[in-house]
Amino acid sequence: MRRFILTALVALLGAAAMTGLRTTSVSAHGEIAQEGFVRMEAVGWWDVRFSRSDLTQNDNMVISGTTKLLETWPSNMSNGNPEICYLTVVEPGARFVLVDRKINGMESPQSFFCSKGSVYNFSMTLRARDPGNWHVHPALAVKESGTLIGPGQYVNINSSPSGFSFPITLLNGKSIDVESYGTWLVLGFSAITLVLGMWWLLYWTVPGGVKRTITRLRVANELPLNQDGGPAVGIITRRDHRHMAYITGAAVVLTGVGFLWASSHYSGNIPLQVQWVKPPAPPVQAQLATAQATDAIYDTASDTLKIETTVTNTAKSPVTVSAFRTGNLTFLNPIAGLPHGDYEYQMKVSPEGTIEPGQTGKVTISLPGDVLRKQELLPLGQAQYVVAGVLELTDADGNRNFDTINTSLNPTST
């Protein structure tokens, strides 16, 4: 017995020690596990901004930006025709609570109807919940395809003495904290049912040693299946029936009275809601130029991916290739801006300079191979040797034009 108690104590201590191994931070969310060509062809992200990077519990942070279901959406995903989307946040557990989500200005609490080629300007307001340093991304989930992750960043949450709360007001005017609402009813009712269940079980298994288990097998084996032998045999007695009736009665009363009480106390309830919306189209931007990719060559010698494009300026002022966005990465032309954050890099554009109004020019953008390899965006050895993304062109007034380009990848050295 002493050995048993000792073993149990060691097991309990071990279990307690294991529960102390809490995860404190996660820095990756599996985005590079998805095939590169799928990420490049499916969704584009730009202007993703986090309003804050350091918060205290209950503070709000807004993630805003634009995402687009590209015209190059892969034919093997959602049958080539995405229809239902869900804009979400990828984070290590519910470290933030989402309190507001707007897509093209429309409140979108749940999924929304989407379509290939559509642009969605979004903002998501997150309320800081758990203290820690968390890596957070916006993400777009597409039905029958999966979740595609946008650029992210670390956000720090400091603890507040008052802890976290998630207050809302019910339609009956009552204010509740969603974080704890109804918890004691769940725990209390579950515990009462456990008491009843244990009562039932212990009665049969350890009622003062009368009803044994293992040795009873031989007795039960003597009787037909639909018989218990009655009082003469005495393996199930009148006392047993009476006792079981008490417990069953208690279960019926608990359930029945509980049901009536809850129905009255929580009256006015409604079924779970499905509120899918169709966001309006965003304001149409002026078309400054058209762009078409003609070739993509991976040069192993320089470890560079070169994408050749033909750009036609249809505006009245010169345009510049300012950025190329693919997957959740942005490659910036140095003359347009310097990279910041973990998802922005530089690219080379040749020839440098602008494309004059009415002119068509060939522009080659060179992307660093090490970055693409690290992000698994060089689809070598994958099912489709393609390169795709959004080419951003800017005119002298700062107006921007986003063109989806794609072309076959030539992996040979030049």
């Binding site: 869900y86 519910a94 097998l217 032998g229 279960a251 608990l254 309830n269 809601q273």
Partner: protein, 257 residues
């Protein structure tokens, strides 16, 4: 003469029941029940997760159409098998309650350790349903009827209704309406939106979206009726498991009198 024979037979069995064995004491009984608890809890939990995982995981999946249709069916299988095993072996009407209690411990340990403690999901969003009242009622049906056919018919209905009524008590607070992001939603919907599940987008919820096939718009009762019918089927799946996969192989090696 016949009565005397029956009485003698009853006395013989009674003596067997009251016989005390030197080397098979209560410690073996205790060890058996505790060890079996892990196996039964795991079997019930796996079946539950396979067939009704998400419905019983999140408050915003516990709807009045699918939750009530799928979960009673999914969770009657192992209790039914255990009812057969425990009745066949010991005439204990305990199979459903025993499974429900084992499942209670399995699910709550998982919810508290994995979901509450490790990733800090609020427990009022990921609470586990209880099957214990339903288990007690179903075991009572077997005790009184001593018939698996009657228990499959009455017990399945009792299991479904018991499950619904006992868990509806806990789910009702989360069906209270509120305005959130400019829409009328339930508290459960707000939980599902607020507490972000990155890889469980909202459109994956298999819940009532509305249809033309509800009877006088009484989705709940249509689902309960259908759930009961499915539950009868599930009960016999469990009986098959109990009879053919658990007891029959053992009986091949057990002395028959």
């Amino acid at each position: 003469m016949a009565t005397a024979t029956i009485d003698l037979e009853a006395l013989r069995i009674r003596e067997l029941a009251e016989r005390r064995y030197k080397f098979i004491d209560r410690k073996w009984d205790l060890m058996f029940w505790v060890t079996a608890g892990f196996v039964v809890g795991a079997a019930a939990n796996i079946t539950h997760l396979l067939f009704a995982g998400d419905w019983d995981f999140w408050t915003d999946w516990k709807d009045r159409q699918w939750w009530m249709t799928i979960t009673p069916f999914a969770t009657i299988i192992i209790p039914s098998a255990l009812q057969y095993i425990q009745w066949r072996a010991w005439r204990f009407p305990t199979g459903a309650t025993y499974t429900a209690v084992c499942l209670f411990f399995c699910t709550w340990i998982g919810r508290l350790l994995q979901w509450k403690y490790f990733i800090n999901m609020p427990i009022n969003f990921v609470w586990s349903a209880t099957w214990i009242p339903a288990g007690i009622l179903t075991d009572y049906v077997l005790l009184k009827s001593r018939s698996f056919i009657l228990t499959s018919l009455i017990g399945s209905a009792v299991w479904t209704m018991g499950f619904w009524m006992s868990n509806y008590i806990m789910q009702l607070p989360y069906l209270q309406p509120t305005r959130f992001m400019g829409h009328t939603l339930t508290v459960a919907d707000v939980q599902g939106i607020g507490y972000i599940r990155a890889q469980t987008p909202e459109y994956l919820r298999v819940i009532e979206h509305g249809s033309l096939r509800t009877f006088l718009q009484e989705t709940q009762y249509v689902s309960l009726a259908f759930g009961t019918t499915l539950c009868v089927f599930g009960y016999w799946v469990g009986q098959f498991l109990g009879r053919r996969l658990a007891v029959w192989p053992i009986l091949k090696y057990l002395k028959q009198y």
